[in-house]
């Protein structure tokens, strides 16, 4: 019922799930080679994938283009690679990102390498949709996986934090001629996240738009410290920035939106202004993309930094189940407030 209400809303304030669905619908109408493949995505009376993104699409496009599969993640990924090589544009879905490990060989050895191995003759235009993030489901339905893929040459890595970005970036991903790993945070899709105080809804224009990869968004301008965050952590950073403003600390919040390609320029420009950088991700600390960004900023802008780059990340443990432990595990705005104050010597 909630969905119907939003559809009637003239402001088109869409949830991320609705925005993603709209992107898929538009692209499937525009281009016959686009299709969806995954578990439980088009079953009549089903849920439209684990998070409703493909709900109702099989009614418009049929079960050939909203293709339900066995529970075979390796198969889904490998078949998407093959279909992409032969001229289709698959959007593959694995329900929960944690299941992507079953498909790693196909993504890393085939999707990411076949163009290279063919010396540029082949292309693999596929999108892999990967829901991530802790959401009360324990260690195997919770991980943040972007860093695994940031490490792999040949893959693009996208991580939208709101409905507007989700739609524009997914449309770009579908049209991209490379394999795109598209990360969606489970608490940003819609209602569940809002119960936890995160509202990723946003105004989405009726007119078509695409968002380019490699262009960060400055979510909030500030002078004293730069905070780079993605997905759910963008909200933690924004709420921390509000709190810090009350204490007279001005925070610049940057959402890179895509990690590969990464808009390092925007981040460096900001660091030039603030001389301080905090990186926030929900992934574990060690080997996370924050480490890479910290190194790059330190190498390129050492002279501008007043203090070492600081990372705020999940501790190096699996994701715990008990809400009290999960809340402790996931970085939050208080962590950012504390760190920012300390970085500025005001703790």
């Amino acid at each position: 019922m909630y969905l119907l209400k939003v559809k009637e809303n003239k402001l088109r304030n869409l949830t991320v799930a609705e925005a993603l669905r709209e992107a898929i619908r538009e692209e499937m109408r525009r281009d016959e080679s686009v299709f969806c493949i995954g578990e439980d995505i088009g079953i009549k009376g089903g849920w439209g994938g684990a998070f409703t993104v493909t709900l109702g699409l099989s009614e418009e496009f049929g079960h050939e283009r909203i293709l339900d599969t066995p529970i075979s993640e390796l198969g889904i990924a490998g078949i998407a690679v093959g279909a992409a090589l032969a001229g289709m544009r698959p959007i593959a879905d694995v329900e929960y990102g944690d299941f992507i490990f079953l498909a790693m060989d196909q993504l890393i050895n085939n999707a990411a390498k076949l163009r290279y191995m063919s010396a540029g003759k082949l292309k693999v235009p596929m999108v892999m949709r990967i829901p991530v993030g802790a959401s009360g489901r324990g260690a195997q339905h919770a991980q943040s996986l972007e860093s695994y893929f940031v490490h792999v040459p040949g893959l693009k890595v996208v991580c939208p934090s709101n409905a507007y970005d989700a739609k524009g970036l997914l449309k770009t991903a579908i049209r991209d001629d490379n394999p795109v790993m598209f990360f969606e945070h489970k608490l940003l899709y819609g209602a569940k996240g809002r119960r936890e105080g995160i509202d990723a809804r946003g105004e989405v224009p009726e007119e078509e738009y695409l968002l380019p990869f490699g262009v960060a968004e400055i979510k909030r301008e500030g002078e004293d410290v730069t905070v780079v965050a993605t997905l759910r952590m963008v909200y933690a950073a924004l709420s921390a920035a509000e709190e810090l403003e009350k204490r007279g600390i001005s925070v610049e919040v940057i959402d890179p939106r895509t990690l590969t390609p990464l808009d390092l320029e925007t981040i460096l420009k900001s660091v030039h202004k603030t001389n301080r950088l905090i990186i926030v991700h929900e992934d574990n600390l060690t080997g996370g993309w924050g480490a890479e960004l910290a190194t790059r900023v330190t190498s390129e802008a050492f002279d501008w930094l007043d203090v070492p780059v600081t990372r705020i990340a999940a501790p190096d443990t699996p994701v715990p189940f008990a809400p009290i432990m999960e809340n402790y595990f996931v970085p939050n705005s208080e962590d950012i407030v504390r760190t920012a104050a300390s970085v500025l010597g005001k703790s």
């Binding site: 390796l74 690679v81 279909a83 001229g87 060989d105 050895n109 076949l114 163009r115 191995m117 063919s118």
Partner: protein, 321 residues
Amino acid sequence: MEKRLPREKLIEMYRKMLRIRHFEDRIYRLFLSGTMPGTIHLSQGQEAIAVGVCANLSKDDIITGTHRSHGEALAKGVSMKSLMAELFARSNGCCKGKGGSMHVGDIDVGMLPAIAIVGGGIPVATGIALAFKMKRLDRVAVSFFGDGASNEGAFHEAINMGAIWDLPVIYVCENNLYGASTHVSKVMKLKDIANRAFSYGIPGVVVDGNDVVAVYEVARKAIDRARKGEGPTLIECKTYHIGGHSRSDPRQYRDKEEEKRWLAKDPIPRMKKKLIATNILSSEKSENIEAAIEKEIDEAIKFAQSSPSPKPEDALRDVFA
């Protein structure tokens, strides 16, 4: 069986097998002499499979191979010069030096760079077949793989999916009895891998993989069936790789009697004997064929050795489209 096929077709299949054999015999010597970089996995003894299957395919059909795919590459139509140049790591190799022996292929003739992760090509071929079906193209995909691959999850997941969607894909298992040094009987309770087909609800066929005509006939039926939209077939070709796993394999794990038994079934002398006995091939014609192949190989080596190396910084190209 042979009578149903035109003489030219039989001679052509014989010639193609011989061409692969001579090619591999020659590159083996080049590797041993240190002239070629890398490693090689040879397919001597398995030529009838590549040739018998590919004789049914057109350029538009697409195959996936394995780490042991020189034979499939030649049978599918990858030019010998570009294949040789690839093995010599030259810039006009079929993958411009980015593939090497384990990744030979050329999409222009319908072969992906071979996928050297055991079983990894099976889902990819299935996906190619899905695209053919969705686009309503009269094309088929063929996945070549070994007995070892049939114990991988990729085999199970992909064949099941090919089966439920009736995809135009043929799964060709070259059962050469060994996964590296491990005999198939140690890792599989079944005698025939083809029987695994029945668990996916598709036909499974066992064929003498050292009889090129038998392979040709079985593949033809499976490919016709796939083109008609009736779905995949699993073909198990019983065969043997004469030279063992890779270039430096002393094959101490193999029974010499077993080797002798299989050597007697070598597909090339066997075919030659039949062709001569049935007066399809004369010894003069046979000598001409061999001489022409040797000349082609000489020219390919000359071409490869006189080809430029890639520039070191070419390593940085072709990551993204």
